[in-house]
């Protein structure tokens, strides 16, 4: 087979896989927004029966319905794409077009939720962060639900500032002059309130609160020998870039490869690279991805189960880079070269700083346990704990009991049934492994032929959310009871 033909086939395979992830993201955002609006309607209708406030919700619900309609209209095309292993370039383009027509406006609708009453974050998010960062009692950070533009911030002032500037409100910093800055407030997208898989990103944000307190990135950059004439702006950018990689490593250390996944989905959902990562505040995501994967490899942690997504993400970035104008492309490439030039030599120092924090490390044994927990999710059960003995071993011990066996022997056999709590990082990893291995099958069921059953995908997501929320809750209570003071 000629090389160009092989290349085209590989590229078409990658494009197909990219569309699968994008389609899942489109359905996920639609379904999650619908769920939020449904909750809002329940409250509004019960509280203010004659209120016209529901009109706001109706407008958003109708908009979502029109995008669902678009998917349903194209269900034959999408279904054919899902079943066809070797689709043509034209088919892929057509499906990509449909998905983009849904994802782009739906992400904009998400931003409008800032106009509705704000829900609070689920308590399980605190269980997860407290467990990952070994904090007992009150966590020194809170979580606020916000829009995508302000999410992934870690200071309440930044979140408010971002929301206010979107609404052209007065300068917050001026209004708050003289007040002490608040603590860390991690921003989480509205849509991810019930989605523990997306919470993996909060481990990165929590890393910022560590960096903010200890000024680690600042210290690393300060020790750099900079060429004469380095401006303050450039210094600030370097500190921010180092801080991002520091936080990526913090998240990877406590959560493993799952810590990277939410940001890849966020980036893939965007239509272009313009305005995306790779600027004064963030180094380009491919650089962060490469450095973090290297860090994970140095920790002897495999990324199996996640490799496909990493590969597709890089392809997606490449495609978007190609779509830029020559000047924009050059700019992105220059930023990437500069980020690589700064960060690659510093990666070992950053890793040293992170390793010195004595954070709980996610190791290969945790990854193995996550793989076992994934089977529980597959069986429709919460994945909060595991037993040390196998069912066969326990059965053998139970079978050895006879009438008249001593109480001690009976208890000894029964105690084999005791379960040990899973770590939150294992639960989140199990969740991602389960989702990445099951979503394609769910897409096929959602688009079985000429019609689409979009509700099925929503039910699937709701079930995964519920099982993961329950798992985090169970593990937290389990640990509390097992603790010496429990």
């Amino acid at each position: 087979m000629p090389d160009t033909h092989k290349h085209r086939r590989a590229s078409s395979d990658l494009e197909r896989r990219r569309l699968l992830y994008l389609l899942s993201e489109a359905l996920e955002k639609l379904s999650r927004l619908e769920r939020i609006l449904e909750r809002q309607r329940s409250f509004v209708e019960a509280e203010y029966r004659r209120s016209e406030y529901t009109n706001v919700i109706d407008t958003l619900v109708n908009a979502l319905a029109s995008f669902k309609g678009l998917l349903i209209q194209n269900s034959a095309r999408i279904g054919a794409f899902l079943r066809n292993e070797n689709p043509t370039e034209t088919q892929l383009k057509a499906v990509y077009g449909v998905i983009r027509k849904v994802v782009d406006p739906v992400l904009k609708i998400h931003e409008l939720l800032v106009l509705l009453p704000r829900e609070s974050a689920e308590p399980q998010v605190f269980f997860m962060l407290a467990d990952c960062f070994r904090k007992r009692g009150k966590l020194p950070a809170s979580v606020i639900l916000t829009n995508l533009l302000s999410s992934y911030e870690y200071r309440v002032e930044d979140i408010l500032q971002s929301e206010m500037s979107q609404q052209e409100l007065p300068d917050l910093k001026a209004a708050l002059r003289g007040f002490k800055p608040g603590g860390s407030v991690l921003g989480l997208a509205f849509a991810d309130r019930d989605n523990p898989l997306a919470w993996a990103i909060l481990a990165h944000e929590y890393g910022h609160s560590i960096d903010d307190t200890r000024k680690i990135a600042h210290g690393i950059v300060q020790r750099l020998r900079s060429p004469r004439g380095t401006t303050d702006n450039k210094r600030r950018m370097q500190v921010r870039w180092v801080a991002e990689v520091f936080c990526d490593f913090v998240a990877a250390r406590v959560l493993g490869p799952a810590s990277l996944i939410p940001i890849l989905f966020v980036e893939m959902a965007r239509s272009t690279l313009a305005g995306s990562s790779g600027g004064p505040t963030h180094p380009p995501t491919p650089v962060r991805l490469r450095l973090t994967r290297k860090y994970l490899a140095d920790l002897h942690l495999s990324t199996s189960g996640f490799e496909d997504l990493f590969e597709v993400y890089e392809f997606d970035y490449d495609q978007k880079l190609r779509a830029l104008s020559t000047a924009e492309k050059k700019n992105k490439e220059d930023v990437r070269t500069a980020a690589d030039g700064l960060l690659a030599p510093l990666a070992a120092k950053i890793a040293f700083e992170v390793n010195s924090l004595r954070l709980r490390r996610f190791g290969e044994d945790n990854a193995d346990r996550a793989r076992t927990l994934q089977e529980k999710l597959q069986a429709g059960l919460p994945a909060s704990c595991h037993r040390e003995s196998s069912n066969e071993e326990i059965l053998a011990k139970l079978a050895s009991l006879k009438d008249g066996s001593s109480t001690r022997a009976v208890y000894s056999a029964l105690e084999e049934l005791n379960e040990l709590p899973a770590m939150s990082s294992e639960i989140v990893t199990a969740g991602w492994l389960y989702k990445l291995s099951s979503f394609q099958d769910r897409l096929l069921r959602t688009f079985p032929g000429r019609t689409a059953k979009l509700g099925l995908y929503g039910e699937y997501l709701e079930r995964v959310d519920a099982l993961l929320l329950k798992s985090l809750e169970l593990a937290a209570v389990h640990k509390e009871i097992n603790s010496p003071t429990g």
Partner: protein, 205 residues
């Protein structure tokens, strides 16, 4: 036939999945297993009725929304407390998640130590169908005269299991309307979805 502790234990690790019973997590088998039952624990979520704006429980079209809005949801962390006051009625759930095979039914009851303090764990619905999967909802009330301090993880109930003479052909999950299947936390009433209730809604008497 009521299962003994060893029969329950065997069912928990049965190699045949169609016979396997799931009760998870089991934190302390020595404390939890009784001669013919397993103690079950209080979960973290509660719903208390907020009655100041309600004149009655009306199973009308807005019932579900009203239940959502007029029950205050409280989700505790593992070390927080919940005070159940005399005469108060709240919904809560088991910490445990259950999955019953098609040939096993169950019954949830209170534990006498808590009953003596006035704690009732269900109002009237303690039976669990074969094929059920999910956390069980407690209908907690305090029949005593002093508030009772509760916290997640307390063993306030016990569950026993009955082996059936043959497998059910319509286990709970396959039932025509399995209203509470797969719940991972407490479930508010879905009485308004019962056909006889919906019928009344259409034809007011």
């Amino acid at each position: 036939m009521l299962l003994s502790e060893i029969e329950i234990a065997r069912r928990l690790v049965d190699l045949d999945e169609s016979n396997r019973l799931t009760v998870t997590p089991i934190l302390d088998a020595k404390e939890q297993f009784g001669p013919s039952s397993i103690d079950v624990r209080l979960g973290t979520d509660f719903r208390r009725l907020e009655n100041i704006n309600r004149s009655q429980v009306a199973l009308n079209e807005g019932f579900h929304n009203e239940e959502e809005a007029y029950t205050k949801r409280v989700l505790l962390s593992a070390d927080q407390r919940f005070y159940l006051h005399p005469g108060e009625f709240v919904l809560a759930s088991t910490l445990e998640y259950f999955k019953l095979p098609d040939n096993l039914a169950a019954r949830i009851e209170g534990r006498s130590s808590w009953g003596r303090l006035g704690l009732l764990v269900h109002a009237t619905a303690g039976f669990v169908d074969p094929g059920f999967a999910g956390a069980l909802t407690f209908e907690l009330s305090n029949a005593g005269r002093l508030p009772i301090e509760l916290r997640p993880g307390l063993r306030i109930g016990q569950i026993c299991f009955f082996s059936m003479s043959r497998r059910s052909l319509i286990p709970y999950g396959a039932k025509h309307r399995a209203k509470y299947w797969g719940a991972t936390g407490l479930q508010i009433s879905r009485a308004h979805t019962d056909p006889e209730v919906r019928g009344r809604q259409r034809k007011p008497q």
